[in-house]
Amino acid sequence: MRKITFSIPEFYGWPTHLLVGGLLCLLLAGCRSDDQVEPLPAPDDPYAFVAPANFPPATYTFDNNPVSEAGFRLGKRLFFDPILSLDNTVSCNSCHNQSLAFADFPLHPVSIGVGGATGTRNAPQLVNLAFRREFFWDGGATHLDFVPLNAIENPVEMQEEIGRVIDKLNADPEYSGLFGEVFGQNRINTPQLLHALSQFMALMISNQSLYDQHLAGEYSLEPAEARGLALFETHCQGCHSGILLTDESYRNNGLDSSFTDVGRELITAYEGDRGKFMVPSLRNVALTSPYMHNARFNSLQAVLDHYSDGMVDSPSLDPTFRREDGRLGIPLSETEKSDLIAFLKTLTDRNFTNNPLFFKEQ
């Protein structure tokens, strides 16, 4: 061990340790008064929202609702609690399962609600929501806080009125205590409920797939994966773009020629948007079968078969899919599809789907 020897040095005639102590006091006192220096979260704090460096800026309004451990855990408790539904049978978790990147089970092609009611669309995965501009297949919600309200009040999902949910929570002494601890108010209200759920969802960041490791130079893609990535860049990245693997636009990808679900037109009331749906993120795509808003395809192979040979025409079909020879879709050989699937599997993030942070507590 190195021996530390020290003498008391002089500085303007004052012992330095006093001077240093004095200066430290001064600087600590001096900087308390301004709020511009935010404490940086400790990197090992699992409850701190830390945006990955290569992600776009977060869209979520953390100024109104900073994530705390107590808030996150309250949100998690609510996520798993069927108290949000009419007859206490359906929770968020019923259709959003962590092992599937919070997508629905393959046996539930569309969501299953109170009394076994079936929804009309496939429940999407819940990842990287703090970075998204719009939510749902039709983009009806533009803020994460408003997302759970739709599941709660939808008659074929939780079928419950938000006012009754708030009454049930207020009648529950345990929830009263937990909400009071997080939000410091006497009574639970809607924004507290939605803020707690947003705190839980905001930390659902998926950025540790093999693809991410490849981007960071920590993983060499297998030959098939590398060929698949090249094909992806040529044929898919126009829509599934950026680090979130979606450009968040609304497009018609040729599933139908007439539409029982008009998609984006529901929100815009614009006929040109008929049959358009939000381009989904492809993160964890190998886990989120079935595919498309209407759960048309059960496998990635079936999805690629659709893009190569299965598209049907309609006025709003995305121009990307119109080829010069008049045919529709993306020309892909069977080998190319197999390579693409190899690449798509590198988007699976097991660190995310196995992260104990999101496990139910009891």
Binding site: G30, V37, H143, G184
Partner: protein, 309 residues
Amino acid sequence: MCCAARGVIQTVAYFFIFKILNMYLSNYKALCFALSILFVFSACRKEDDVPEPAEPQEFGTFDLVFDNVYGDGELSLVGTDDENFDYVNGNNQDFNITLLGYYITKIELTGPNGEYYADEMATSADPDEVKGFYHVLESDANSRTIRLNEVPAGKYDRVNFTIGVDADAVSEGATGGVLDPAEGGWLWNWDAGYIGFAFEGRSPASPAEATQWAPENAVQLHIGGWKDLPDNPSMVNNVKRNSIPFPSSVSVGERLEPNAHIEMNLLTMIAGPHATVDFSTTFSVHAPALGSEIAKNLATAFTVDHVHQ
């Protein structure tokens, strides 16, 4: 900008210092150097904290009183099972009124000599922290008077306000108070935003058969929609801003209790310059685009009837 830059430098300096603290005794010169840098920045920040000396200013209150009327007459609500239809619309169709209300937000008062008051706006999960949003309901007399506090003394001759809840508020996410859907707030969830103006009633002219969205003989006009999208001209923003002159100017001061009576004429809304509503065809408006023409009538439906000094 200068402060922000100093903040960054200060943060970096802190980091530097705490690293060096580990080596405190063996490297005290570096520590003293870093501390001196920090001291300089700490010291110069202090100047920003000195508040500007405020001029003594007199303040008063101002009340905006909303009176809902129909044409030249009064307006009153009935229950949803009432079979009397006391009003006649622009298409000679009888109807009654069971619900009427709107959000008033972003209120400003202006005066002839540059007087200016802007009501504070704030969203929060805590209802006590929510400021500047008013849900004016015909069914709640208290809601029809909006008291503005801390209005700088002076003369005022114009009020500006927004009817509805605009993008600034929606983009802040869930909010309490009058915007809380569990407390009667008019939040649309499927196209998340707020209904800015709503009228409901019944009319024999409306279909006797109930539909998925409307009970029998129902008339439900919900005006919502707040989004402007540059690349999508079909998105409808029905949030409107009105600027209405007072018939005469009003003084605000410490011992004064002035008010302005604002009339909202429902007849103008359903038979105004932009839309004359036919209840046999337009009886269930629950989407932004369906309400866009009716929403244009908001521009002239509100007038200042009179002021009280």
